[in-house]
């Protein structure tokens, strides 16, 4: 169970998430900064619900109270050349 991969992009295991929470990371952002979960190519779109769940179970907090990860734009991965072309004129 501890070895279950929660964040596939960054290969972060459940055990690492739990131990980060136990050592004081009590928001999604704090967990992300410590474990890299949610920092990969999907930007937490897959693992966020799992981490929220894990957080609310570990610290017995309602997951609605848990601070949301913010998605830095762009919303989906985009090639740098496409981004360059969004320029006007």
């Amino acid at each position: 169970m501890q070895n279950t991969i929660v964040c596939r992009c960054e290969e972060v295991k459940l055990g690492e998430i739990i131990s980060s929470i136990e050592s004081g990371a009590t928001t999604l952002r704090a967990i992300k900064v410590v474990t890299r979960a949610g920092m990969g190519i999907c930007q937490g779109r897959t693992c966020r619900p799992l981490i929220e769940d894990c957080l609310s179970k570990t610290i017995k907090q309602d997951s609605n109270d848990v601070q949301q990860l913010n998605f830095g734009n762009p919303i989906r991965p985009i090639r740098l050349s496409e981004l360059a072309n969004t320029r006007k004129g």
Binding site: T26, V33, I41, L80, S81, A84
Partner: protein, 382 residues
């Protein structure tokens, strides 16, 4: 009532470095209203770059900090992905060649090893560079570090030395009596102390206001694009001469570009490219003009064409604590005994964090061994 020998405000790279050094002889409490390294120190590049600093004192200070880095992993007992990979400033336009030549001359006189190389030599070192460059400057003294790991490493080492680190605790007031600090008010209670270190980065002005001291530190916004993981393609740091113009904002280094765009490029150990950046005064506004992202992208592609194919997964916004003279303030405020400022590192806080902790410790111990470095960092009051 709760008491401490010192209270450090701010859990960024500066506050954690300071708390770690102070803990050697004191009971220290560090207060952070959010997460460790969650603000500027978690939204920045990884460059410990010396050759971008102004010749003179800024170089001397950066060198002193860089020397500490050589033993820091051992001292903090963990990897911070510190690499001595050198750094390069690309020169794209003939018209920049002149001021970069002068810049290099003055750097060499200031004792920094930097040399001007031609486009071919630059490409031999960084194979993905464009063929259209006129040259580059190169220094082996530049290095890099992972800023997230660095801040966490300082914070863990501080905790091991006994620092009480309190997250989600906001300082809301500072208590002074007869011109000296006597305590700190937080949203979670009062701490009695005679020493407060203001390491609140871009927010340091708000803290100084609590003791009635005017402190002009304003946020200078920077945006960085982050790519998916790719195989190694960039060695060390890459900047461009336009970056120097944007950073130093003086005609001497060419005209500042729109959005203060200048290339800053690096790759983390895990393979993500950090592609920056910009310099703007827009307060704490987090809205990004799409034109700004497009300008960063096209500027980077012009210098390193193969970057066009990498996927960007997100962007970061950080707020550099800008003082106006390119140097931080490290000083005990005259007239408010026990109130020390260690803030305003602008775009160099990662590079300068190690020396900052040591300077603050020396200052509060009343030692004179770092006088030459502390003197130019005094708070200037009109």
């Amino acid at each position: 009532m709760e008491t401490a020998d010192a209270v450090v405000i701010g859990g960024g790279v500066i506050g954690t470095s300071v708390a770690y050094r102070l803990a050697k002889e004191r009971k220290v409490i560090l207060l952070e209203r959010k997460e460790i390294g969650g603000q500027t120190s978690g939204n920045c590049d990884k460059a410990i770059i010396l050759q971008s600093k102004k010749p003179g004192f800024p170089i001397k200070l950066a060198k002193a900090s860089r020397r500490i880095y050589d033993q820091l992993e051992e001292e903090l007992e963990t990897s911070i992905e510190y690499n001595k990979n050198g750094g390069m400033i690309l020169i794209e336009k003939e018209e920049h060649l002149n001021f970069m030549k002068k810049f290099v001359d003055r750097q060499n006189k200031a004792g920094l090893r930097v040399k001007l190389i031609d486009a071919k030599e630059a490409k031999a070192f960084q194979p993905y560079l464009s063929d259209n460059l006129v040259g580059a400057t190169y220094s082996t003294e530049d290095a890099e570090v992972n800023p997230l790991l660095l801040t966490q490493a300082f914070s863990r080492a501080a905790r091991r030395s006994g620092v009480d680190i309190r997250l989600y605790t906001e300082v809301v007031g500072i208590d002074c009596q007869n011109g000296r600090v006597v305590g700190v008010k937080t949203d979670r209670g009062y701490i009695s102390t005679e020493l407060v270190i203001n390491a609140a980065g871009p927010f340091a002005g708000e803290i100084a206001e609590m003791v009635g001291v005017p402190l002009t530190i304003i946020p200078r916004r920077g945006v960085i694009l982050i790519s998916e993981k790719v195989p190694p393609m960039i060695h060390g740091n890459i900047l461009c001469s336009q970056y120097i113009a944007a950073k130093h904002q003086s005609e001497e280094y060419g005209k500042a570009p729109p959005f203060g765009i200048g290339l800053s490029l690096g790759q983390t150990d895990s393979g993500n490219l950090l592609i920056g950046g910009s310099r703007e005064f827009t307060g704490y506004n987090k809205e990004i003009n799409p034109e700004l992202l497009a300008s960063i992208a096209s500027h980077a592609i012009r210098m390193v064409p193969s970057l066009g194919n990498v996927q960007i997964i997100r962007s970061m916004i950080g707020f550099r604590p800008f003082t106006g003279n390119g140097l931080p303030i490290i000083d005990e405020v005259p007239g408010v005994q026990g109130f020390v400022i260690a803030a305003g590192h602008e775009g160099d806080g990662i590079a300068l964090a190690p020396i900052t902790g040591i300077l603050v410790a020396s200052l509060v111990a009343g030692e004179s061994n770092y006088k030459d470095l502390l003197e130019p960092l005094k708070l200037k009051t009109e």
